[in-house]
């Protein structure tokens, strides 16, 4: 009986959920979109994806080694970043684009802030925007003779085609994903399958995507000039990076508000900004910029949405009653 037992503060039991399991769930949920992207765009998509993931994981590994920190690559968050970055690239970019993007995402957007949980914007999107600005040509050119078979709009993504006044878009192919775009954004159905998985596993909650999508649609109805044009609305929702952004990137825990009301506000601002960028902006896209910009508003949003604690309202009533 001389041996001492373990002591710690309560509670003494813990749930089985862990950070790495959550990240693994996110990886799994992105697989349908990834597999479809590879099927749609060919082996180059596969190579770019692998390069992007390898670049992210290696950057994080080397950074932690160099800084004499415990390595954090085992939590799979670098894999998620790499995968998301790849899904946001056109399949035609040079091999060094995902490599550079991965390094930028991990080092500049994540590790210098203190690693997982400390970054202020979504690393994958931060890197995508960096690449978009620095290498606009490569990042926005989707047409190539190699993809002539599925290039129904002479080298334009469906969204760009619509923005230029096109009206003969094929909703079905946008839904299944047989169109042009970045590797992971084209197939609405693949993305929705992944999103359903995340929702079912309890990894994400519906507030952010629902507020985002509903407010975006509302904005389009009011300001796009198309009014309640259902095919147009469906095309806008399925096209571009909206579904990928709404379900997989706006819901990034670290860069979204933790307060329940804050999540709604966050989604609403995203819908608004995406609408503004898509309709009034120079490009047909707007999701990436909307998300990283709103990421920066998160501390402010949280400040104004501190939840009312249990029983706090009844206290006010009581005080009024006393007065």
């Amino acid at each position: 009986m001389s041996e001492l037992y373990h002591v710690s503060a309560s509670p003494h039991v813990r749930s089985k959920v862990s950070t790495d399991k959550i990240m693994l769930c996110v990886v799994i949920s992105l697989l349908p979109a990834t597999v479809f992207g590879i099927y749609n765009f060919g082996v180059s998509a596969l190579i770019l994806t692998l390069l992007s993931i390898a670049s992210c994981v290696l950057s994080e590994f080397l950074y932690t080694k160099l800084m004499h920190q415990k390595t954090t690559v085992k939590d799979y968050s670098a894999v998620v970043t790499g995968l998301l970055l790849a899904l946001n690239l056109p399949a035609t970019v040079s091999w060094w684009i995902p490599v550079l993007g991965g390094v930028f995402a991990i080092l500049v957007c994540k590790m210098v802030f203190g690693g997982l949980g400390r970054n202020i914007m979504n690393p994958a999107l931060g890197a995508r925007c960096f690449l978009l600005i620095s290498f606009t040509g490569q990042m926005t050119s989707f047409s190539s003779e190699k993809y002539a078979a599925i290039d129904a709009y002479s080298g334009a993504t469906p969204l760009a085609y619509i923005k230029n006044g096109g009206t003969e878009y094929d909703l079905m192919s946008m839904f299944t994903g047989r169109t042009l775009g970045t590797i992971g954004e084209t197939s609405a159905i693949a993305l929705l399958i992944g999103a359903a998985f995340l929702l079912a596993m309890g990894v994400i909650s519906i507030q952010i995507p629902a507020a985002y999508l509903l407010n975006f649609v509302l904005f389009l109805i009011l300001f796009s000039g198309h009014g309640l044009d259902l095919p147009y609305l469906a095309a806008e929702v399925c096209g571009g990076g909206l579904l990928l952004g709404a379900f997989f990137m706006a819901t990034d825990y670290v860069t979204s508000p933790i307060t329940p009301r804050g999540r709604l506000v966050f989604g609403i601002i995203l819908g608004l900004l995406t609408g503004i960028f898509r309709i009034y902006g120079g490009s047909a896209e707007g999701v990436s910029y909307a998300i990283i910009f709103t990421n920066l508003l998160v501390p402010l949003i949280e400040r104004f949405t501190i939840p009312a604690a249990f029983g706090k309202s009844s206290e006010k009533k009581k005080k009024k009653g006393d007065a």
């Binding site: 037992y5 309560s10 509670p11 029983g311 206290e315």
Partner: protein, 440 residues
Amino acid sequence: MSLGTFQGGVHPYDGKELSKSKALRPVLPKRDLAFLLSQHIGAPAKPIVSVGDQVKVGQKIAEAGGFVSASIYSSVSGTVKKIEPRRTATGAQCDAIIIANDNQYEEVEYPKRKPVDQMSGKEIIDAIREAGVVGMGGAGFPTHVKLSPKAPDQIDVIIANCAECEPYITADYRRMMEHPKELIEGLKIILKLFDQAKAVLGIEDNKPDCIKTLTDLTKNEKRIEVKALKTKYPQGSERQLIYAVTGRKVNSSMLPADAGCIVDNVETIIAVYRAVAEGKPLMERTVTITGPAIAEPSNFLAKIGTSFEDLIEEAGGFSVPPIKCISGGPMMGFALFQTDFPVTKTSSALLCLTRDEVAEGKQTNCINCGRCVSVCPSRIVPSRLAKFAEHDDMEAFERWNGLECVNCGSCSYVCPAKLSLAQAINYMRQKTLAEKRKKK
């Protein structure tokens, strides 16, 4: 009937099947008994015996040290061996009266009581105070104080806390199954103090047999009803229970009495019955000895002062060496570094685990996932509050309602980053409260 419940909460593995079917069994202590002078909230009791004195079962050995305090009685006959500081399960130190058991169990004559019907409210309260009854669910708040609110007329609901939401513990369950009549009689005694009140037995629906037994027994009682509650931790937390039963909300600056409620747990109500109807002081309580390390998980009627080691032996000893021994349940109990601690008025269980899940968890940075927010019964933001605690930012801690924490531990339980959120918040809450007291 709809189930009473609250927002938030978690569903940890409940482990009750280990000891659920084991009937309550009295245990005779083999080792010396230690009666801690601080087994309750408030001033420690003052010893009224000296080393060498002979004591009997039921003899008062320490007098309440103030209004908010409680007397302590010997549960055995024997000799006062020494009075020395001992460590309590929570890690604090306080004086204890050590009594060598002579195994004769010679009892004092208990004072003759009037029949309950003829007792006045004051006589009932006095009997409860005299018997040293405190809240036996864990807090140890002296029951006579709780039953003397400022405005007794405004109390309209007496809640019997029969939730027993802590995993593994089955002590209250056995009490309800084996002594339901005493429980109801005890409730009736409390009802005599509050003319406007009705009594509600709040029972989690994982104990359907208790619900049925008590519903049948209270069929003809106009002022007593049974309310089934959703099985969810922390259903037995006072504020959550009041909300589940009445829909009223109580926060940290209020007492249950401010919402017209008084909450007492099963064991406390039984002690009230013994004190008032039988004139017997509080000397024993139910204790569950359980966990994967215990050979025969059991429910005991243990004499207060008995060493947990006696109870472990009575439960067949350890089948495998435990890693962690907890006084109380796994969610809010206190880890013990060894097991030679005495049973106190508030010891409901000893849980011996073969794994330390806290030590096994790999900590990462907070990923801001918000799971702690969705399970928090106080509807606050644990991860953020823990961060304020880390930064020692009292102002932000208060602004984000950190003082509303009930330390249920749901946030730590659910955290995927395996952070000890409840510990950090509780530390900061204590510190903030201490700071506020200083300013006053």
